[in-house]
Amino acid sequence: MTSETHGEAQLSEVRHIVPRIGPRQYVIIGVILTIITAIELWISYSPLGDLIIPLLIVLSAAKFIAVVAFFMHLRFDHQLLTRFFVFGFALAAAILFALIALFWTDATDAREPGAAHVAADAKAEPKAGADAKAGAAPKAGAAVSVKVTVKEFEVAAPAEVAAGAVKFDLDNAGAVPHNLRVIKSTQAPNALPVAAGAADESKLQVVAKTADINGGAKTSVTARLEPGQYLLICNVPGHYQLGMTTRITVK
């Protein structure tokens, strides 16, 4: 078009589309949207279990489409507008799924940044900035090491450690996978809240954790600990109740 001398000839007149839909239909759509929202609210409190999430997503998608199609007139308007918007939305959805897939199985949050440089046995890839809490990981080399040995079904560790950066060297001397959770708690070692066969971490102040490691494997995790009472537990389902818990006092 730009190379044409008479570019004007390529232009077409803008069509103003006035949708054939009036206040009555708009109100009906508004009522439907309200009813869907009420149903969503009911579903979120219902005992439908695994069905809740797909149902809520379908219903909110229906609301989304109704508003875009009728209130924003995309149903009646030029198709090119729909294409632009759907393209942007699809890209956004792709980013959402890609990021969630990337982080879903990610266990690096609990690892020390640069752990591979500190501990020869650590197989963790260094990942800067992955730590979930600013200041939770000290500079490499500044940490005091604490040896924690786990096996069926006990956790062995020193009773005391000095406050500051503490590196827990976890050694699985057992035959099955274990992990380590460092929990700030003054409760008795066997009195933590339990959900789904494991200590309920959503109700606990977990200050450091490792991924599950197989029997014979080692890993490490570092946390900056303030003085206080802490519990070291294995939270593979069932293991905590079987006695894989011990107290450590940080002074």
């Binding site: 077409s12 007149e13 929202t37 969503e40 979120s44 209130f71 632009f84 890209l91």
Partner: protein, 199 residues
């Protein structure tokens, strides 16, 4: 290009769509990416907090359901204002623009109440991963609602001029409406993903 500002002369464009409207839709498509990133961040970080308060302890679903209803109804009011503007009924347009603005302000009031309550319960931007991602997401949405209120208020004020909103009143209100409805559909997604889906 559209023959912008030419009174009574039909606009022209290569697509047959008013370029300003096309621009708004492309802007809204880019806003999908903006909010998509913030929503992804929230979903990733909400379960990674090392300290509370956690989402299931603090989110107030009944109160947020009311504010969601308020925003939905503002969309209905908006579309009625667009209808009035497009059909040469300025009084209808002004009335529903005013209702939309008031509902938008009500929604913002709910958000201020929610943020203050969370603050008193110990959740702020710096508390944990949940707090950081929650406030950034809903704060940016609230900012969008605020910008929408300003746009609609300026339209309402302008409509009281002797010439009203001019020949293109319907067009101006429609474009403002697109933005407003978009803010509403973003909230539809946030309400479901942040509040309703079990933590």
């Amino acid at each position: 290009m559209a023959a912008a500002g030419a009174h009574g002369v039909a606009h022209h464009s290569t697509t047959g769509i008013d370029n300003r409207k096309l621009l708004m839709w492309i802007f809204l498509a880019s806003e999908c990416l903006f909010f998509g990133s913030l929503i992804s961040t929230y979903l990733i970080f909400k379960g990674k907090s090392l300290v509370g308060p956690y989402p299931d302890e603090i989110l107030d679903i009944p109160v947020t359901s009311i504010s969601t209803f308020v925003l939905l109804m503002s969309s209905l009011a908006m579309v009625l204002a667009v209808y009035g503007a497009e059909h040469g009924r300025p009084r209808m347009m002004k009335l529903w623009l005013l209702v939309t603005i008031l509902l938008g302000l009500t929604f913002l009031g709910f958000q201020v109440y929610e943020f203050r309550t969370f603050g008193h319960e110990g959740l702020n931007l710096a508390t944990n991963q949940f707090g950081a991602s929650f406030f950034v997401l809903t704060g940016f949405h609230g900012t969008h609602v605020g910008v929408g209120v300003l746009i609609l208020a300026s339209l309402l004020l302008a409509s009281f001029r002797r010439s009203g909103l001019g020949r293109e009143a319907g067009f101006h209100v429609e474009i403002a409406g697109l933005y407003w409805h978009f803010v509403d559909i973003v909230w539809i997604v946030i309400f479901t993903l942040v509040y309703l889906i079990p933590q």
